[in-house]
Symmetry: none
């Protein structure tokens, strides 16, 4: 017989399965193939290719056409054979906390996963890159994960290293409440995050409309969202022409529990000195503690000091109830799963998506009503 030298680089003949793999590869690369062309390329007869095509068509992996095959098309109504590809995927999810903030994110993710017929495996982690990686690795090792939703620690060189590692994983990755930095170019990481800066701005504008003209910010830089909140506060202050320099901007990060009361006293002192009548307090829990402290010290809320919290986890528990910015936590989880499901379904033809969500401002007692003690200077030019 004529020693059919496959035009293929390897002079070796392929097994039928490999051949069909190659066929699908060509198909994905070019969108369509001709029986003749592929037969020549793989060094087999056309009939063989036809048989392969028939086989693949029966599985719904290609659409048969006269002279070749194309990617499955909706116009091809031979696909009467229901949907055997009930191939449900498993998604791993690694979050930095299982008590605060994240339960709602997980809940939203779970609901959407059920909708999309996906399985979700959640793992808690610490707020630190090394442990993030450990947890992800554990998921990859023990479970059969098709995709990963993760909220990693991104600070420092370890954080960047972790990001690169995630980016190089063979499965799709979606960040939740984290943004892949723009400087890092080739990132195929997708993400969904709340626009915390917008939320902080909303709070500041609300306080301004209530008549406050000195608005401070009490933050806790140990959280990844803090920088965004502070940035939003700054931007809003600038937009409202309030000088940031003279405003209270304290950070409670490095305090032990023992020092907390002292620190709050210090903050109240500062407020009195600068005439600040309103505070945006990052992290709800801190806001609750601060309001408690104010009440203890006889500082009226909101009369002497208006408070808006951030996160809205426990703000409603305080007395008086605290107004708070509420990130759409459920939706963060939901969108993360949607992104993942779409990515798994559509493959890499789908462009990288990045989604920002706006938070909501929940008004309660702690910020409603004009300040009792008007600040210095101009006032009552409300709106």
């Amino acid at each position: 017989m004529s020693p059919e030298q496959p035009a293929e680089g390897t002079g070796k003949s392929l097994f039928s399965l490999q051949r069909r793999e190659r066929l699908m590869e060509e198909l994905r690369a070019h969108g369509a193939i001709t029986v003749r062309g592929i037969a020549a390329k793989l060094g087999v007869s056309e009939l063989t290719i036809r048989r392969d095509v028939n086989l693949l068509a029966d599985e719904g992996l290609v659409s048969r056409v006269h002279g070749g095959a194309t990617l499955p098309s909706p116009l091809d109504r031979s696909g009467a054979a229901g949907r055997p590809p009930q191939h449900s995927y498993s998604i791993g999810m690694v979050v930095p906390s299982l008590d605060y903030y994240w339960p709602q994110v997980i809940s939203g993710a779970r609901a959407e996963a059920e909708e999309q017929n996906l399985r979700i495996l959640v793992r808690g982690s610490a707020y630190d890159a090394a442990d993030n990686r450990r947890q992800v690795q554990a998921l990859l090792d023990t479970q059969n994960i098709d995709g990963l939703i993760v909220a990693p620690d991104m600070t420092g060189e370890r954080g960047q290293e972790l990001l690169r590692w995630l980016n190089a994983l063979p499965i799709p990755v979606v960040l939740a409440e984290r943004r892949s930095p723009v400087e890092n170019p080739a990132h195929r990481l997708e993400w969904v995050a709340t626009d915390h800066a917008f939320g902080a701005g909303m709070a500041v504008r609300h306080l301004w409309q209530e008549g406050h003209r000195k608005i401070g910010c009490l933050a806790d830089s140990s959280s990844p969202t803090t920088p965004h909140v502070v940035r939003g506060w700054r931007q809003a202050m600038a937009a409202l022409k309030i000088p940031v320099e003279g405003s209270v901007h304290e950070d409670s990060a490095k305090l032990d529990n023992g020092d907390r009361a002292a620190h709050f006293d210090h903050v109240l002192e500062l407020c009195k000195k600068t005439g600040t009548t309103a505070l945006l307090v990052h992290s709800d829990t801190q806001a609750v503690a601060f309001v408690q402290h104010c009440v203890d010290k006889g500082v009226q809320v909101p009369g002497d000091m208006a408070i808006v919290g951030y996160d809205d986890e426990v703000a409603y528990l305080a007395e008086p109830a605290i107004s708070a910015v509420r990130p759409p936590k459920q939706y963060v989880g939901k969108v993360a799963v949607q992104l993942m499901a779409a990515r798994l379904a559509e493959g890499r033809m789908r462009p990288v998506h990045r989604v920002e969500l706006n938070p909501e401002l929940i008004l309660r007692e702690s910020s409603i009503g004009a300040p009792r003690v008007p600040a210095t200077g101009v006032l009552q030019e409300s709106l």
Copy 2:
């Protein structure tokens, strides 16, 4: 060998199924097609197109009209299937062009709308706020619109005014390829846009990897996407430590057609003077014209001058074919409709979504291969 001589850019002939898909795509993009036009475009006889149209009409996917076909219309009572079209909602869509860029966005939107069982009404407009508003108003007046997808002109005070007006409309609004400005606070406008800055950066980094060390930018500031492209170019240059000051950055906005050749000469002159060996050219069409000009003047592409275009509308037509950044136009339309559908379904409990999509870099001949004439100074430290 195929007997036919397709007029298609790719010398490949299409299978019937692909042909019908192309037909549906054109249909979704323009709302209607002529048998003659499509036959010419696909390089087949008119009879063949007629047969395709008949076939698609039998499935209810198109409405036959004399001389061509349109999207299925309720007025066409040939619908043997008798499927109640059950248009849950109607969406208005106003885009600034029906010839360039936007047909593909519309096509993606239409395909998704079909999926979601929505009706889409498209109107073309001029690139100017007043006409944008007129077209939107016309849609609101004459049709029963439940939502609006629009790509308005946002420049100047008129643009801001238009945005405020859109924001105040009683129906949900999604911007396509536009971003609501952050300064404007209470915006409930949602949007989906391509990250053009990322695209430009991708192009610059590609040219850098090919060995270019002086990379210019030829822009056309009359387009809304130009600022983003230029910003991306700047950022990438900064990241690669290429001084922007000495680099070519020209703008062809205010030139008449007559001056074009002169301007291109001027640009080439500048490149020679500064040692620039690669250019990112905004708007594909301009890139094609520029490459043509280079060839006419004996400037080798990519040998003397590497080119990357932006938009990838006509880049493949040039000789040599031009590498280009391709925004995910279909997906912009698709995501816009998804956002709208979700908004209509979920109401205002749903948080405001904002989506960014990454473009893709399509490599062709015009940018591949190291520069023949090395730039001044350091070189060949190619990664």
